[in-house]
Symmetry: C2
Subunit: 215 residues, 2 copies
């Protein structure tokens, strides 16, 4: 298909597609003349993934390029590639202080992972971002003990088990990695917004009951 | 305490504190001379909250101001204030298309909420952001049916029940709302990064087993 059809089928404007091509987020099409190139279903699938990462997942373009390079790098084993792909995704900030709160947060994060039977990965940006968030809770005096964090850890373990089973159903390794990227990035807003909706619903239950009881 | 001590105890630089004061994120201190003001423990607590929202939660300053204004607005009931506070927090983008995928995603989101017994809140930005994320999954052909989303909904319901019980333990209504903001914003990175760590751990299990089996 030509650029115009690729644009129509993906819902991405020709100018944006050209930008993604220049930025290396999308492989070049097959040249058919000096001014035209031909694109296939592979381009369409990749373009939809890029759009989902950048628009819905709010992944910066430079980060998306690194993530997709890791998806396409067939030199490494599947586990290492998956690790690279997920590590390349944006995380929260790492701890900016090395204070008492950060030290306590680090101990909590380590203990939670130990109890869940996970191997510790201190260099993992997800570990750093977890410590930073827990340190902020400690500084504010909000619940952030091992017991407070464990419910979230158990929930995360359940979800991850479900997700890896879904990813493992895809056949080819590149399709598996694309699925890992898409499901990691796109189920984050699903999970967070369901949590917000659940909170609103639960708040209605808790505070309306309080109000009716004249509390 | 003076600005210098507020800075030392909060770990926020005097220049940033002055910026937050100008932007209305922090109430003014009590003037003690033409050039000096006195701050109290309330300022310190609020300053730590602002710092956590802006630095760890990556909440834009203008959004943080709206959220804190809702926290301080004592004219409304606790449930409405909580609703305003959480609605003012940043969400993912709303759906940008009104295509087939968005329509299917909206049906899925409604059905999931119905099955969980939640009251539908179509205007809630969390509902809009949920639909946008599901629509992106539908467009990419990834699992996004009611059955695929229900595990996340059940997890969200469990977490929210736990969280509202924590919030309900705080006595004063403003402290409850501050806790709601802090716990909503700061436990998001906790949950997301635990999910990433759980995925890494689970991927190790799944793909290393595959590799050992010569798959």
């Amino acid at each position: 298909m030509r650029l115009a059809e690729l644009s129509r089928r993906s819902g991405v404007s020709p100018a944006t597609i050209k930008y993604y091509l220049r930025e290396g987020l999308l492989p070049a099409g097959a040249r058919v003349s000096a001014t035209q190139a031909e694109y296939d279903e592979e381009h369409l699938r990749r373009l939809r993934l890029v759009r989902a990462l950048v628009q819905v997942g709010r992944v910066p373009v430079a980060t998306a390029r690194r993530v997709l390079a890791a998806v396409d790098d067939e030199s490494a084993g599947q586990f290492d590639r998956l690790g690279e792909v997920v590590t390349a995704l944006p995380h929260g900030p790492a701890p900016d202080d090395d204070d008492h709160a950060t030290a306590r947060a680090r101990e909590t994060a380590d203990e939670v992972q130990r109890r869940l039977g996970w191997r510790a990965v201190p260099g993992n940006p997800a570990h750093q971002a977890l410590v930073a968030a827990l340190a902020a809770l400690v500084r504010l005096g909000y619940p952030a003990s091992v017991e407070d964090v464990m419910p979230y850890g158990r929930v995360a373990a359940d979800i991850a088990e479900h997700e890896l089973a879904v990813i493992d159903e895809f056949e080819a390794s590149t399709t598996q990695l694309e699925a890992a990227v898409a499901l990691t990035v796109l189920y984050e807003p699903v999970l967070l917004n369901l949590r917000r909706l659940a909170q609103a619903n639960e708040a209605g239950r808790v505070f309306r009951i309080d109000a009716e009881a004249g509390d």
